[in-house]
Amino acid sequence: MECEECHERPATLHLTKIINGEKNEIHVCERCAKDKGYIDYDEPAYSIHDLLAGLFHYEPTVSKSQSFNKQQQETLQCSKCGMTYREFTKIGKFGCASCYDAFEEYLNPIFRRVHSGNITHDGKIPNRQGTFLKKKQLVQEYKGKLKDLIENEQFEEAAVMRDKIKELENNTAKIDEDGDK
């Protein structure tokens, strides 16, 4: 079917207009539909940010009274970049790394919604900056293994694991001491 307006392009939109109870069918192409005003010009796509902005208007359920909470949210501001909590909920973006600390108490519900219930990072640690953190993560992992080994009564392996943990912790302690000097 060709477009009723330009008779050039194929009709891709099929609209039904009802005026005074009289039904009228219109078959036009997208370009003509825009020109004639049947549809809006370049309707902006509904982005994920529009959706998020809605998600942010979220009152955390704390024991404090609601009005107090609201008041606090109004005045909450990142001391480093100056972004207010209100601005943050409006644009849905942080202004700097410090905003994460400034808005900390309101962030968990937001992250939970956006990240399928998760609030804590469980991935890569920076290679250079994170030497200490990496060790900590390894100790955590070994402790988990140790617990499993004890539960399974594999005491010999558990002893090896315990020594490994001790060694790591001692190393860390040494680093700390060096740092103090």
């Binding site: 790394a97 640690i125 250079r128």
Partner: protein
């Protein structure tokens, strides 16, 4: 300008290699978002506040090489003409968002165009690594190594509990978006993909069109990527994505087989009509071109067409984009002029194959 050098320019060197599962998976991409600890994010920073970031990148990484990524070059958005920016967008080397910026935003690109680092887009740093075919594990390994290399000179904004801190809460944690570009004509034709999308979404993955967020799936090309970045390790995210992509490959192959068995003549007819359209059109709109190219590629994959190379879809999908057409023509073209130019480039490209 003859077509061959222009094709060479349009197709990034890494795209010329054949990757695993390349009958269905066109490419794999890993993107990592990172920020400088001490500086305000680009979204509210003024231009002066962004200068030190560009300076660090230029000082330590401009004209440097790392692993397979030789001679990285920093290009400022300010230096580029609108058509040049558009070309970079169509090659997926920069985002439309970065293209709109000018001073103190730019991109660091390796010679083989496999790595691009967007500077001062939404985050201070967004590095992207591309691989042909399905190579998620390899891509992650390379991305981590490249990330470590950048971190040697940059103090990242990182928190023990929240991970890598990003401007948008949707990227916090790993800061990683892993995506796989897939050609799924049979699943689209049989309308099976629509039914699979809700299930894919439930696994924390998104299905989008070829040019990312909000874009339409042209030419039956879809991008599958992770949505969740917090609380899962990069390796877990990739495992999850890989298992879904493998399932999709399996389903697509099955649907193709079924199409060939059940409607052989109708499928053959569709493919050769599209081939005819591409071969003889004098005016062709981008959507029609994309549909016909998808048919043609399917024809090559199922063996109806033997004398054309597989790379034709990837090449022509990029070559026939508005930015490239205008870059080739060396002038600004109206929509009608582009449709004419597009038809002629396709005819010429097909002629190259017959020679």
């Amino acid at each position: 300008m003859s077509l061959q050098p222009f094709i060479n320019e349009a197709i990034s060197p890494w795209m010329k290699e054949e990757g695993p599962d390349n009958d269905i998976v066109l490419s794999t991409r890993i993107r990592l978002a990172r920020n400088f600890e001490q500086f305000t994010f680009p979204i509210i920073a003024n231009e002066d506040e962004l200068t030190p970031i560009v300076d660090v990148i230029k000082e330590h990484y401009h004209h440097q090489s790392f692993a397979d990524y030789q001679d990285l070059e920093y290009i400022s958005m300010e230096e580029l003409k609108p058509i040049q920016k558009r070309v970079l967008v169509e090659k997926h080397l920069i985002s439309p968002n970065l293209a709109e910026k000018s001073k103190n935003s730019g991109v660091l690109i390796s010679e083989n165009e496999q790595v691009s680092v967007m500077v001062n887009e939404e985050d201070h740093i967004r590095m992207q690594l591309y691989f042909p075919g399905l190579q998620l594990e390899k891509a992650l390994e390379s991305a981590f190594a490249f990330d470590d290399w950048l971190e040697e000179k940059i103090d990242y904004a990182y928190d023990e509990h929240r991970g890598y801190l990003t401007s948008c809460p949707t990227n916090v944690g790993t800061g990683m978006r892993a995506s796989v570009m897939m050609h799924l004509p049979a699943l689209t034709l049989t309308q099976k993909l629509n039914k699979m999308i809700p299930a894919i979404n439930q696994l924390g993955l998104v299905v989008r069109g070829i040019y990312g967020e909000g874009s339409e799936a042209i030419g039956n090309i879809f991008q599958i990527s992770n949505q969740v970045t917090l609380g899962r390790s990069e390796a877990d995210i990739i495992d999850n994505l890989l298992s879904v992509v493998k399932k999709l490959i399996e389903q697509e192959q099955f649907a193709r087989q079924l199409l060939v068995e059940q409607s052989e003549l109708r499928l053959e007819n569709r493919i050769f009509r599209s081939y005819g359209t591409l071969k003889y059109s004098r005016i062709i709109e981008s959507k029609e071109a994309a549909t016909c190219l998808s048919d043609l590629r399917l024809g090559i994959d199922v063996g109806y067409i033997n004398h054309l190379s597989k790379s034709i879809l990837n090449e022509l999908m990029i070559l026939t984009q508005p930015g490239f057409l205008q870059h080739y023509a060396k002038e600004t073209l109206s929509a009608n002029q582009r449709d004419i130019r597009r038809a002629s480039i396709i005819r010429e490209r097909l002629k190259l194959e017959n020679e």
